[in-house]
Amino acid sequence: MSAALIIEQVLNGFQLGVMLFLMAAGLTLAFGVMGLINLAHGSLYMTGAFVCAWVANATGSFWTGLALGLLASAAAGAIIEILVMRRLYDRDHLDQVLATFSLILIFAEGAHWLFGSRPLYLNIPDLLDGAIALPGGGGYPVYRLAVIGVGLVVAIGLFLLITRTRLGMRIRAGESDREMIGALGVNIRTLYTLVFALGAMLAGLAGVLVGASQSVQVGMGEPVLILAFVVIVIGGIGSIKGALVASVLVGLVDTLGRAFAPSLLALALPVQAAASVGASVASILIYLLMAVVLAFRPQGLFPTHG
């Protein structure tokens, strides 16, 4: 097991982590600020990827696709906030789960209807194609490094937005006391729409970035959604800082588990069994992590008040 392999796997873990952060940020904001459980977050992720792939194929430009993909997912977010979510804020979580689950089905069938049933083609832009040498040999795809960079920039941007701007102050105020901020004359409805659209746009960004290196197909959002929920539970529901730390934690545990669990098990088991058992162990590691975190910190790593 060379140092280069370990460095590469750690980078892979980071990359998965920042990807998850983009998804988890919107989910945790929606829950923290509006008290909303949004299962349809994966559909917004899918929207970003589908629109980007479609536009990129039509115009030949990934960047135009990216811009329109972000716009489309933010717009889809704003529209479902106004049409559906608004009616759910005062209801209990079960109603929210039911309504947003139905949105998943509507988005999935809508995508079938608009884009067909076959997966769409979307490749990474030429600018980011290629690999750079890692210390100790082996190349690492430039695209994955760029994804890590984008994730970090978004994380810093969100942090500044929430701690340093008027909008961020209102978001924080909305988290602590909804009635009071409304009474102080802030238009809470617009604020909610904005926050929701922002979360949707980040999900769309994740969808585009992932879609370009993975696959753009109906149902692509749901597996990521499950991981994103694990992230926000570990990080503390409603906390952006928690979402960031937990995303990177989950990304690293998942990737390093997949990479090294079979070979570690092979020290004790026959190779055949180790491959099969290792795969199973690797797939439950993040849930074990969640269980351990919840056992010691039931509110998550960075609990928000309330």
């Binding site: 060379s2 796997q9 892979n12 997966p119 769409l120 083609y121 696959s215 197909q217 692509m220 390093l256």
Partner: protein, 390 residues
């Protein structure tokens, strides 16, 4: 008195006669009912849609007839759920009284539906799923698989590795029954070393960890069984990582339904299948041209199997009605139809004995598709035929 008796006799007789005539006419005109259970929504629906389109292409080309008899094809979507597939099968059998069932894409759904359906006296013609159970100890006289036994493409790929002279293969498949069968099928014929073997999560999209492990190994070739979106994701990431090792897999991994989404990342990948769009026989040329004209896209291997399924049913209907189960079964066993695969016959377990080819992904006029590189198996039969006591 006498007259009245005669009148009554006449009346009864004519009523009876009329009734008989009516039922005879009904038997003549009643279309043969075929129930198609397939996946038309959600993940993997492109496979079910190709199966439906391939089957209906054959039916529509003959004005709604197969083997000269009118057929009524009922199509329902199973959403890839075994429970739903079962419900549809019950409805087709009990309410619609279908004669033949077909269409299921996935092995776990086939195992949920087929054993019960064939026990109810319905014929099942599989256009795709070929789990080892149904080829072996659970085989049934009313079950016919026109596609393959699930292991076949992997076995052909193992033989293909030998033919290409690879000596150190890295194997990758999802951690579920079909994935483990794939690896077992590959090893049944592959003679070289195994450089590494990873079972991934079903539905996994990020393969960075696995690709790094391949890079760190001393493999000279990579075998993947990653159907659908998993394969698209892997192939793109594999291309981005620029490993330069030859990529190989069963035909499912590089089928026409995923090639457009993989794009140039798939170019040069070789894969094993029993059919290819460029197979040189009249039935295939007619099929590929008609499919393209009807649907505006190239057919996948799944569409070719469903097209063959329809023609197989047609060839049997020409000789017998499904009401005469023994005669109909005997007609199916003959497999007297022009398969798009060329040579085609059934083994004793009602699974095909057929040729397998190594195909290569190429770009033809801006479209990514497969072309035959060489034949790897002549008249290949599955490994489970001896377990079937039929």
């Amino acid at each position: 008195m006498h007259f009245t008796k005669r009148l009554i006799g006449l009346m009864t007789g004519s009523v009876l006669l009329a009734g008989m005539a009516a039922s005879a006419a009904q038997a003549q005109d009643d279309p043969v009912k075929i129930g198609m259970i397939t996946t038309l929504s959600g993940g993997g629906s492109s496979l079910g849609i190709d199966i439906r389109d391939g089957f209906m292409l054959a039916v529509n080309a003959n004005d709604g007839k197969l083997g000269g008899k009118d057929v009524d094809v009922l199509i329902e979507d199973d959403s890839r759920r075994p429970d739903k597939a079962n419900q549809i099968a019950d409805k087709f059998i009990q309410r619609d009284e279908v004669d033949i069932l077909t269409g299921i894409v996935w092995s776990n759904l086939a195992l949920a539906v087929v054993p019960k359906a064939v026990r109810d006296g319905v014929f099942y013609v599989s256009p795709n799923a070929g789990p080892s159970e149904l080829a072996g100890r659970m085989c049934h006289e009313n079950y016919f698989n026109v596609a393959y036994q699930n292991d076949n493409q992997h076995e052909a790929m193992g033989e293909g590795f030998n033919a290409e002279g690879f000596e150190s293969a890295f194997l990758l498949a999802p951690n579920y029954p079909a994935g483990r069968d794939a690896i077992a099928g590959f090893k049944r014929f592959y003679e070289g070393e195994i450089a590494g073997e990873i079972f991934t999560q079903l539905g996994q999209q990020d393969y960075a960890a696995e690709i790094a492990a391949i890079r760190a190994s001393d493999a000279d070739s990579v075998f993947i069984f990653l159907p659908g979106g998993m394969g698209i994701a892997f192939v793109k990431q594999y291309d981005q990582a620029q490993l330069g090792l030859p990529l190989r897999g069963p035909g499912f991994s590089f089928s026409q339904d995923v090639l457009p989404a993989m794009g140039e990342a798939a170019l040069g990948a070789r894969n094993a299948a029993q059919w290819s769009p460029d197979l040189d026989n009249p039935a295939n040329q007619e099929f590929v041209a008609a499919f393209e004209q009807a649907y505006g896209r190239l057919p996948s291997v799944y569409a070719s199997q469903a097209y063959d399924a329809a023609h197989l049913i047609g060839s049997a209907l020409e000789q017998a009605s499904p009401d005469d189960a023994d005669a109909f079964r005997a007609a199916l066993e003959e497999a007297d139809f022009d398969s798009v695969r060329g040579d085609f016959e059934f083994g004793s377990n009602h699974h095909p004995i057929q040729d397998f080819y190594l195909r290569e992904v190429v770009e033809v006029d801006g479209v990514y598709t497969n072309r035959i590189d060489r034949k790897v198996f002549d008249d290949h039969q599955d490994a489970y035929v001896d377990e079937c006591s039929m």
